[in-house]
Symmetry: C2
Subunit: 169 residues, 2 copies
DNA sequence: CCGGATGTAAAGTGATCGTTCTACTTGCGC
DNA sequence: GCGCAAGTAGAACGATCACTTTACATCCGG
């Protein structure tokens, strides 16, 4: 398994505060020396895991959505729910990382870049370019509400996205 | 200042991972011995801060909303935005606490209790009892989107809440 | 005015953490 | 088959942390 993939898994499982470098080393499947060769500090391990996560999220949730806007909206929310179920039962990993180290500007910039890319791609695919803030809000809300309400959160997100689309000029 | 108030401030400022007990002691304004007398472990300090936070959030965001449902909806979102601006520029403190220690069941139960109380009270005040999941989703979305988009997030939340209300049977 | 409860300051303890260092092994071009 | 790049295991180091302990101050009812 790729080093970054193991790191991502370790951070998901243990959280950013309690994942020790030795835990990370084991998850990455390499020796400590090799780990530090490619990621010279623990902070770099966090960044590598998040970069990997970003690419995976984009590929699994936002790639190849149906061309029809209504179908794209539903598929987007379904896929986001599936992602939560299989990958992020504890909430958004980027927000977790920032929460664990609020003073880290690099981390915050990475969060903003990730969310901006998500919002832009989602708005484009669903034909809601003019309502990108509201669409981002729905997706963020789904991500946070899913751990509390599960599938009900997906239905609510689809419902809200549909109302938003009907309201378009 | 009350001990719990100082602890809450310290966790907001430093995050749950990087707030050392000595930092907490200074923020609480007491000696280490007294701090440990009332909160026998660091985990108890986290719980005390969150309990305090919960009461404050309820009082400042959900208490005494206008009787008219439409006005209540707008006031709710406005107040939630104001709360973010003055108190939580880095996102929900409960989610941050859980993210910093995902294996802690007590913490997760506290998060669920807090969100459940927020959702119930908000739905009641806005006349959206049947749509409480969607309303919670909007509030969670606002909380997560505010750090990224500021006032635009508040407008989007008001818009979505209005659409939800219009759609009521 | 005394004695006990209640507070403070600060040094000490043992564990753990991130990071570095030492020593050994393996694959591979020449 | 030699030499070197690149890997492994794991001990060692210095810092920091949560928590304990020791020693001293202050309040206050009797």
């Amino acid at each position: 398994m790729k080093m970054a993939a193991g790191l991502e898994q370790a951070f998901v499982r243990h959280g950013f505060a309690d994942a020790s470098v030795d835990t990370l080393r084991e998850a990455a499947g390499v020796s400590l020396r090799t780990l530090y060769k490619y990621m010279p500090s623990r902070a770099d391990m966090v960044l590598a895991a998040l970069e990997y996560r970003h690419r995976r999220y984009m590929a699994e949730v936002l790639n190849d959505l149906p061309a029809d806007p209504a179908q794209a909206r539903d598929a987007l929310m379904t896929r986001a729910g599936d992602w939560m179920q299989s990958e992020a039962a504890h909430g958004c990993l980027f927000h977790s990382a920032v929460a664990a180290d609020p003073a880290n500007a690099t981390l915050r910039a990475l969060l903003e870049r990730h969310k901006h890319e998500v919002a832009t791609r989602a708005a484009l695919a669903t034909g809601l370019e003019g309502q990108d803030v509201a669409l981002l809000l729905i997706m963020e809300g789904l991500t946070q509400t899913w751990p509390l309400r599960g599938a009900e959160a997906v239905s609510a997100a689809k419902h809200l996205a549909a109302l938003l689309a009907e309201d378009q000029p």
